[in-house]
Amino acid sequence: MALAGLLVSALALNACSGGGGGTSGDKNSGGSAVKGGTVNVLQVSDFSYLDPARGFDGGVNAFYRLVYRTLVTKAANDASDPNAMVPDLAEGLGTAGENGKTWTYKLKAGVKFDTGAPITAKDVKFGISRGWDPEIGIGAPYLKQLLDAPAGYQGPYRSGELSAIETPDDRTVVFHLKAPFPEFDAVLSMPSAVPFPVGTGGGDKFIKDIVASGPYDLATFTPGSTIELKRNPQWDAATDPVRKAYPDNWKFSIGIEGATIDERLIAGQGADVNAMAGSVQTATIARLQTPQLKERVVKAPSTCLTYIGLNTTKKPLDDLRVRQAINYAVDKSSVLNATGGNQFATVSNTIIPASVSGHTDYDLYPSAGGTGDVAKAQQLLTEAGHPKGFKLTLDIRANPVMQRQAESLQQSLKRVGIDLSLNVIDVSTYYETIGTPSQQHDAAITGWCPDWASSASTFLPPLFDGRQVTAKGNQNLAQLKNDAVNADIDRIRAMTDLAAANTAWSALDRKIMELAPIVPLNVENRIYLPGANLAGVVAPQGDVDYGIIGLKDPSRG
């Protein structure tokens, strides 16, 4: 679900079809990582939660990989197929049975929590069941949607054990689903599936401290300021082929200004040679042109699409020709420049980004140089009865890049007489506002990232399934309610042949764009500038993998 922005996106499972790729980001000046030292991660904002049942955004998912393990997880970024799902705490991937409504996993031997207690099937069950607690389970929703839990179940602290998960013995876990779901392995790689010792973590126990199952444990935690990790001696590398755990310590420094972070990385003074951060600011790109800096840059396309949602319940957006006219009128290259130029993003004319499987290239509303076809737009508007244009209100987040993008749109649409006024909404209430159909305006700029990039099953359905329009927390901003689209979604989701499913998703992508419920704008790139002494910073799908990062020379910095 991870909504938008410049957040590092989530996980991936690539069934090898469609157009994965673009520039593979692995230009990391030679040398490999060795054990020892401390890696510094600099960030602007705090992690939402240390508790994986609560946290659910790209930034914190990367952190969870260092301290938690799940039955199944995404492969390491330097694996031959970085998007594959690989077993982590389980011995192998799940075995489906009974018409695909049960899945069985077997835990490895010798896996322990940082307390020294072994991780058993009951702990897996307990950890997952925490997701039903109304206070705690505000993170990834998939398990709650898929598992056959009794109605009114409120988690282990209030309602006891979860019957939908069976534990016939200490090392076997059986899941009972409501309906078949071929991609269940991917669902178990989500942070809401992290095991915890039975009975722990009630109330806000896991706000300030954690029970680690991964290679690291929490050393110190000052909210808003620093998080330090140290090695977890109970983690056994022999049971974990995914994480290399090179550094002895990790230090997350929080609350630093974005521009300052870039300055520090460029300067590389002292311990900053061991530092890394998220994507650089647009202003910094001009400074990364010297050979030494260029060498260190790691660039990769993300799996996230930035788009304008057009609310089809508001006039005149209910008229297909008007929506198509807008698609023609928008000057996407100007929006691209406002986003930071062509280093920073790539124009998109499709819904599914190039780096997600199920993508094919097409452009239903072409124009020269992507600057928009004003004549065609004007023609469509006249046909629809609006030769002089009309007024629209666009919801945007109070963030400089989005504001620039919105202003660029104002200029584009002015050319066909559409008067776009901007409704700037606070970052904290933005998603709440646009997700409430009674509060949203005519259009909104937002983004969407898939939870796993192996298919478009977490991309198209949430955004375009007409049956999913909810009164609060709505993702189908266009409020598209098209029976043919809904039927297609059901059909493709049931396909067990994942490759065929991906081809079907591409076809659906094009079919939806014929209805023009959104205007796809661009897909952003992630541009990282890791410190000169870091190795393992590769990002084939836009996100870094902390599990394989380490220092080249632990004595430096």
Binding site: E257, G258, A259, E263, Q281, T282, A283, T284, I285, A286, R287, Q289, S333, S334, L336, N337, A338, G340, G341, N342, Q343, F344, A398, P400, V401, Q403, R404, E407, S408, Q410, Q411, L422, N423, V424, D426
Partner: protein
């Protein structure tokens, strides 16, 4: 701190009372003072920019909202093409990174926003401050207690935090009015305090007693005897308040709760220049210098006005 009370305290530390020959014109004295003239000239320039903004941008050729794709480089993160932030015959003060908007046009329109808000706030706070200060100082007793308590209460508030919180919670339309209102609510007590102190001391003077003895009503005494003597204090207060409010509006815009884009504002331009200051320093310096010079001009002018009004005192 942006509503810095300390310059006003400094002004209060030596209360100014007009003791001089009424034929001496403050204006004439000022006009002979080179520094004051320079300040007035700059202020006049900014006011002219604000008033004639639409005309000026028609001459310079770009309006403040127009994007110019040809002036920015898409391969380098959309920075302005050319050195000094893209200064050229087309764009006199360069362009804005990311959009290519003309900086000169945005400075001109920004002057409009800043001056409008600062002057409105000054007007409002002066009216409120003088009225309440007079009432409290002259009538004393319960009116004084009540007004003083209100003033104390408002001054105890951490104004900046409160203003930001209120502004960010309210919708963004009519933001200019909200800004003026919010700044004024927290600004008037500082002026009222000074006026009150002045009124208290003036109340004891002979000419007031004389006026009362000759049968003038209280209202007449306040408005015809006391108020004119406050003229110079008010003048000094105004010249000190305006730069304070300009700074406050810029600060609020810097923090993102000021005027909503795409309306240009100097504070907001500085805010967006933060990430660019090492690559395009002119984008940061141009609004910064304009702002600093404006505040400086008002302050120097204020000093010279004080000196002109009370030449026997400190220079």
């Amino acid at each position: 701190m942006t509503i810095s009370s300390t310059p006003l305290e400094a002004a209060a530390a030596d209360p100014v009372v007009a003791t001089t020959d009424p034929r001496r014109s403050v204006v004439r004295v000022l006009l002979r003072d080179r520094a004051a003239v320079a300040c007035l000239a700059y202020i006049g320039l900014v006011v002219a920019m604000a008033v004639f903004a639409p005309l000026i941008v028609r001459i310079s050729g770009w309006d403040p909202y127009e994007f110019d794709q040809s002036s920015i480089d898409p391969n380098l993160g959309s920075i302005p093409i050319g050195s000094w932030g893209g200064i050229s015959a087309e764009h006199w003060l360069g362009v804005e990174p990311g959009s290519g908007r003309d900086v000169f046009a945005r400075i001109v329109y920004g002057a409009r926003s800043s001056m409008l808000i600062a002057l409105s706030a000054t007007l409002l706070t002066t009216v409120l401050g003088v009225v309440f200060g007079l009432l409290a100082g002259y009538f004393g007793g319960r009116a004084d207690t009540l007004i003083s308590r209100v003033m104390e209460f408002l001054m105890a508030f951490p104004a900046l935090i409160f203003m930001i919180a209120m502004l960010s919670a309210l919708p963004a339309d009519d933001r200019q009015f909200l800004l003026v209102a919010v700044i004024s609510v927290f600004g008037w007590p500082y002026l009222a305090r000074i006026v009150r102190a002045q009124t208290l001391s003036l109340k004891q003077r002979e000419f007031v007693e004389a006026a009362r003895a000759s049968g003038a009503s209280r209202g007449q005494v306040v408005f015809r005897e006391v108020l004119p003597n406050l003229r110079s204090t008010i003048l000094v207060m105004v010249t000190m308040a305006v730069p304070g409010y300009i700074g406050t509006e810029a600060g609020l815009s810097f923090l993102g709760v000021g005027l909503v884009p795409p309306t240009p504002s100097w504070g907001q331009m500085i805010a967006s220049s933060v990430s660019w200051y090492s690559v395009v320093p002119t984008y940061f310096l141009v609004p910064g210098v304009f702002l600093a010079l404006l505040v400086l001009s008002f302050m120097v002018l204020g000093d010279h006005v004080r000196a002109a009004v009370d030449p026997g005192g400190r220079s």
